[in-house]
């Protein structure tokens, strides 16, 4: 009681408000970061539950649990929720927590917009998920929603889907503007662009990509809306429209979107590898240039998702060569991480385990991506489980492992408590085994000829599908352990020092743990 009274007297030091309004009205970057992270975890569980339904249906040939119609709704929502609700908000949450602290700024530049860009997200996903209970069911045309399956042939709930995509887009654009303005204007004196920490750099580039492509997505869904309700024929061949145009627009958004989901991971992993190798990153500026080239190239490779739509020969060759070119800067990044570890003084705490697994498994995903770029071979790989294996390798042990690594790495700074190292390692090993048992066999299933988005399959694919399903259940249920570890850390644990990790460098480690509600009210000194 006395503590509360004392707080009343202490008007100079604003702590968080009490109760629910703290979270509703907050403009504090740390609170908003926390909201984003919890929201993305909730969506990760929802999207994960859908993945469990998918893998349960595919456990054996034949239809057992769901009908093909509902199966299509599951694959659609799984994709949309994991991308727009899981991975992207998690990275925005990390950006909110870390960017101001890493550049020595007191908060994000536009705090009220920050609040708004978070709080519209739950509504977007409420609308999207409510479509499951509408007549005709949820969207069932895959997360890529190719017209005319998503226009003329779509369930009535598609209009709600379009509305929710608009809200998600608005949220992303606002979040990105905030990131750009913060980084451009609020760096502590002495932090020049090339001295900026890599996570900040990766987010600066990501934010520009988002600002460039989210409006394109908004345009695509608006054209769908017009086709469905207002009699236009953008994508309807019978009315003089062009179904392939939809794919060009979608992938012009979609390919940069892929890098939006991996660039922040590059930043995170660079920090973690540096810290636990106790050695300076091999090439800071070459990492920056590599990320910039990847981002720029991402605008000229979209049609590699469309090699089978009947593009002219010249276009196929251009997009093949441009796509293969991306392997060069990506290689530079991987070589840099390995060179950083080389002759370092490495220890393997949980964040490092996830980061090392990221490098290995992301590289596998990158190499299968290189195979997919070879057009004649892509005629055999395209839209099979080989593609499913490829993008899950870059997204699950890629993007999601990096997010988990980030949580383990910075949670002592956020909560002031150390997580349980033994449980953390257990979580890592379960996830690592689960991910590989799930997705590695999908390479085989795909090469052997099983198309993706099939609710049922021929008998020769049965064995590896069963293995894949068992792996998926293992991976899925291991994530409850992650929830337990995070809750346990939030509630207590060994107290963390300000420095937390022996090898950690950067401004965020110069403040106490947990980080005070307001940090860097006056800019720190940086040499």
């Amino acid at each position: 009681m006395s503590a509360v009274i004392e707080n009343h007297h202490d008007d100079h030091h604003h702590g968080p408000a009490k109760g629910l309004t703290r979270w509703l009205y907050t403009t504090n970057h740390k609170d908003i970061g926390t909201l984003y992270l919890w929201f993305s975890f909730a969506m990760f569980l929802v999207g994960g539950a859908m993945a469990m339904i998918i893998r349960a249906e595919l456990f054996q040939p034949g239809m057992q649990i769901v009908e093909p119609e509902f199966y299509n709704q599951m694959i659609t929502l799984h994709g949309l929720i994991m991308i727009f609700g899981g991975v992207m908000p998690a990275f925005v949450g990390l950006a909110n927590w870390l960017i101001p602290m890493q550049i020595g700024a007191p908060d994000m530049a536009l705090p009220r917009m920050n609040n708004l860009s978070f709080w519209i997200l739950p509504f977007a996903f409420f609308i999207l998920l409510s479509s499951l209970f509408m007549e005709g069911g949820a969207p069932n045309f895959g997360w890529t929603f190719y017209a005319p399956l998503s226009t003329e042939y779509a369930p009535p709930s598609t209009t709600f889907f379009i509305f929710s995509v608009h809200i998600m887009g608005a949220s992303s654009i606002m979040g990105s503007i905030n990131v750009v303005v913060t980084i451009m204007n609020m760096r502590a004196p002495g932090i020049s662009l090339m001295k900026m920490p890599l996570f900040v750099w990766s987010w600066l580039i990501t934010a520009y990509l988002l600002i460039a492509v989210m409006p394109v997505l908004a345009g695509a869904v608006t054209m769908m809306l017009m086709d469905i309700h207002f009699g236009t024929s953008f994508f309807n061949a019978a009315g003089g429209g062009d179904p392939v145009l939809f794919q060009h627009i979608f992938w012009f958004f979609g390919h940069p979107e892929v890098y939006i989901m991996i660039l922040p991971a590059f930043g995170i992993v660079s920090h973690i590898i540096e810290t636990f190798s106790r050695k300076q990153l091999f090439g800071h500026s070459s990492m920056v240039w590599a990320m910039l080239s990847i981002a720029i190239l991402s605008f000229v490779v979209w049609a590699h998702h469309m090699f089978t739509v009947g593009l002219p020969l010249a276009a196929e060759i251009f997009f093949m060569w441009a796509t293969m070119l991306i392997a060069v800067p990506t290689g530079v990044k991987v070589f840099n991480w390995v060179a950083t570890m080389f002759r370092g003084s490495i220890s393997f705490e949980t964040p490092m385990l996830f980061a090392v697994a990221f490098v290995v498994l992301f590289t596998i995903g990158g190499l299968s991506g290189l195979m997919l770029a070879i057009v004649p071979a892509d005629f055999q790989y395209h839209d099979t489980y080989f593609v499913v294996a490829h993008f899950h390798y870059v997204l699950v042990p890629g993007a999601i492992f990096s997010i988990m690594a980030a949580v383990y790495y910075w949670i002592p700074k956020w909560t002031g408590n150390m997580y349980d190292e033994r449980l953390g390692r257990l979580h890592f090993w379960l996830s690592f085994i689960g991910v590989n048992v799930t997705f590695f066999p999908q390479h085989f299933i795909g090469l052997a000829g099983m198309p993706r988005r099939y609710p049922d399959y021929a008998l020769q694919f049965a064995d590896w599908n069963m293995v894949s399903s068992v792996g998926a259940f293992l991976f899925g249920f291991s994530q409850l352990l992650f929830l337990f570890i995070v809750l346990k850390t939030v509630m207590g644990g060994k107290k963390a020092t300000g420095q937390v990790w022996e090898g950690a460098k950067g401004l965020e480690w110069s403040v106490a743990s947990p980080a005070p509600y307001h940090t860097f009210s006056t800019p720190p000194k940086v040499d």
């Binding site: 299509n72 091999f282 196929e316 392997a327 570890m341 057009v375 005629f379 021929a458 064995d463 068992v470």
Partner: protein, 382 residues
């Protein structure tokens, strides 16, 4: 408590492992790779695939070897004082240039093969392939043969009521037949949504897009049966519209074409025949089960919100003319397409069936539609 958890965990993971091992041991370890196929192009594609695969394996092995060595040799215990080196321009230029050269070495043969694949000269035989929700139509442009190819796997197999056959989900009621040793060109398009026509043995995968005609060609020397699948999500039964191509010698092909023509003539004769209601209903049920059942369901109830019910529908009960019109023209802005490609007999039969079945005959006027009605509908109206 933690150790009890750990003990339980070990026990359950042994179970899990056993569970995993059964399918892994049973699995066909030779069916893990891409098929080599049976055409020159498919062989070239396979070689490209293996080339890039081994290059990727080599790159991966090299990078991971250095990394694993470092994880083993440069731990905090073995190497307490880290080195301080960073940035080395020679090294950085090398690891930019060398991958670049490897990529060119891969892209050149790939581009050459691609040029070979992109040959849109007419074939000896030209077949128009049209994707429908959820079946394929094949039109032989020179031989005046045309038919639909539907999945022939029994629903009871899909719903696990009877054991699954050897070609489960890979069998059709009518195969595409092509002659060996001839250049066959496929002109691929679609009637409703986008589909994709894939036969792995020929290394052909081309999207079937409404309003577009894509081409692909092949020359197959070895007679046999080759199976493929639809590879673009096209709605509910995307997984249930396989492709089966039968390659035969020229003489057998000619015989088959003659046969198909005879069948067409017989079918035309049926149009003028006098049909009894029972005959129409019986034939109509067959047509319904192939064409209509996936949306309107066996009991005619449809799926609420997307596919309207036929049982008790106003049109099926009282409005014969509109009923014919819907089947002939489709419904604008809905998933119901025109079925005018069915024969007059099939159309009359299936309309009659849906006006008679599920108690519709008792509730409504139960009017019968005969093939002549369809012929009349098709006559130009002044």
């Amino acid at each position: 408590m933690f150790f009890r958890f750990l003990r339980n965990f070990t026990k359950s993971s042994t179970l899990l492992l056993a569970f995993l091992l059964v399918p892994v041991i049973n699995a066909d370890w030779f069916a893990l790779n891409m098929t080599r196929g049976i055409t020159d192009i498919s062989n070239e594609v396979f070689e490209l695939h293996m080339l890039i695969f081994w290059i990727c394996v080599a790159i991966g092995a090299l990078v991971f070897a250095v990394m694993f060595y470092s994880m083993w040799a440069h731990t905090k215990k073995k190497n307490p004082v880290p080195a301080t080196f960073h940035e080395n321009h020679k090294l950085e230029i090398a690891w930019t240039i060398i991958p670049f050269l490897i990529l060119i070495a891969m892209a050149v043969p790939a581009s050459k093969t691609l040029v070979k694949i992109y040959d849109d000269e007419a074939g000896d035989i030209n077949i128009q392939v049209t994707g429908y929700q959820w079946k394929w139509q094949y039109k032989y442009l020179e031989d005046d043969v045309s038919f639909f190819s539907n999945l022939s796997t029994d629903l009871d197999e899909i719903y696990n009521l009877v054991p699954k056959g050897e070609n489960y989900l890979q069998e059709v009621d009518e195969m595409v037949v092509i002659p060996a040793g001839k250049k066959v060109r496929f002109l691929i398009t679609a009637n409703d949504v986008i589909h994709s026509w894939w036969v792995p043995a020929f290394a052909i995968k081309q999207d079937a897009i409404p309003g577009f005609v894509n081409t692909a060609w092949t020359v197959v020397d070895t007679p046999g049966i080759y199976r493929g699948k639809c590879t673009e999500l096209c709605g509910k039964n995307h997984g249930f519209m396989p492709i089966v191509v039968k390659v035969v010698e020229q003489e057998e092909y000619d015989l088959w074409v003659d046969n198909k023509r005879q069948e067409a003539i017989k079918l035309a004769e049926l149009t003028t025949k006098d049909w009894s209601t029972e005959e129409l209903v019986q034939r109509g049920q067959e047509v319904y089960e192939v064409n209509c059942v996936s949306c309107h369901m066996t009991d005619g109830q449809g799926i609420s919100g997307i596919f309207p019910a036929l049982a008790g529908s106003e049109i099926a009960l009282y409005d014969k003319d509109r009923h014919i019109e819907i089947l002939m023209e489709g419904v604008q802005g809905a998933a119901m397409n025109s079925f005018d490609y069915l024969s007059e007999v099939e159309l009359a039969a299936v309309i009659t069936y849906s006006r008679q079945a599920w108690g519709n005959a008792e509730k409504g006027d139960g009017e019968v539609v005969v093939p002549k009605d369809i012929v009349e509908y098709k006559e130009p109206k002044i």
